[in-house]
């Protein structure tokens, strides 16, 4: 009866283990939909439009797939009301997320990929690798519990270590924090931050949090200052450093 805590929501899973999909593995399309629902809503409900946007398919296709996913027992779906993952759907989604994040880690650490290139490649690979491959890869990587963006990697049983970080936009001047993860929603954001060395593990002092326009100014370990607008400040997740020196 493990806890599963995601960034936005936390919830409990009951008796979880035995009944993963021993049957046929879902097609890669099916998996994409499940992952999209999870990324949008976690344990909540995702609308047709949101999923359509994320996957770049038409709303009609999503409606269609929602129906099919329900048949398969992977989502709960009510007309005009969106879909949410069932227990089985969640397990499947998290299996893919685990694969994705482990593959990204491998691409970055062993094949020298850059942050920008990693996502697309992992997106294709996650549908082709077996569980065996995934676990061997995890071993090769030393069983990391975060990927290089700092995102938590779900365990094989679909649980997460808990997440304690908050966006930089919610810190206060004077705090010393270190970067836990960086949102990977936008490649350009990733790029910008990467260029400036604002990556997981870095320690920052918060100089100013200006409520007026949401700009947060931080100073890094080299003494360089970085003014960060709302978009950026919300994409950087940090945790207070124990000893504020």
């Amino acid at each position: 009866m493990p806890f599963l805590i995601a960034d936005f929501a936390s919830f409990i899973l009951f008796s979880f283990m035995a009944d993963s999909l021993t049957t046929q593995h879902p097609s890669s399309s099916v998996g994409d939909y499940l992952k999209a629902i999870w990324e949008i809503s976690g344990s909540g409900t995702a609308s047709t439009k949101e999923v359509a946007n994320r996957l770049s398919v038409s709303s009609a296709s999503v409606t269609n797939m929602f129906g099919r996913l329900q048949e398969m027992g992977l989502v709960r779906y009510e007309r005009y009301r969106g879909a949410s993952l069932t227990r089985r759907g969640l397990v499947e989604a998290l299996r893919l997320v685990r694969r994705h994040r482990l593959i990204e880690t491998f691409l970055l650490e062993h094949l020298g990929y850059s942050w920008q290139d990693v996502h697309k490649e992992a997106e294709r690979l996650e549908h082709a690798v077996s569980d065996k491959f995934t676990e061997r890869l995890a071993k090769l990587l030393g069983h990391p519990d975060r990927d290089p963006h700092g995102d938590l990697i779900p365990a094989t049983d679909g649980t997460f270590a808990s997440e304690r970080s908050k966006p930089l936009s919610e810190t206060e001047a004077g705090q010393r924090v270190h970067i836990i993860r960086v949102s990977d929603e936008s490649a350009s954001v990733l790029n910008h931050l990467g260029d400036r060395g604002l990556i997981p593990g870095r320690v920052l002092s918060v100089k100013e949090v200006r409520s007026l326009d949401g700009v947060v100014t931080v100073e890094d370990e080299d003494g360089d200052e970085h003014p960060l607008g709302e978009t950026l400040a919300r994409a950087i997740f940090v945790q207070a450093v124990a000893e504020p020196t």
Copy 2:
């Protein structure tokens, strides 16, 4: 204007480089067919039946696909007469073979897969990885020109180093040879040979080649003798050792 020499046939490819498929990459089914044709016939013709057997699909499906492959300019096809690869089809097939063999090498050397498990995993992965991934992997592996079975790995431009090995069944008593490659057609053969240490790189003395029943008896470096029936003797490819001691 490189040479391309395969096990069974050799032939020349003309101006080869510039026109690889810059267009859309073929689907994974299309690739499977191309590879099957290549594996069956090299530069020759593969029949509907042979391809159907190898891919475990119906003959009707193969006929259908042959037509489509011709539309795409990947094979030459004549009704009732089988299909052979065009230049473009060959390039595409060899691209997949390269991927497959590099992935197998990675699975064996870095993820600790056994010979038997490697094939199926590679079969799925070869359709999901990009050229970029493939080349980075090649670099990680030290640009090998043979995979762990000893099969030649095509270069990026679709050429092969030349192959000089012959099956053990065609050697003569008294020769000293080393194993270049082992046929990966059958998992059980692979298994048997792997168990006995009869793997690429091993040096053997040929004790007897009995024309009566095709049994070849060899002695390995540890002094152990192995009597090998026709099936096995034809699955082990060797090359004479320079100095017969």
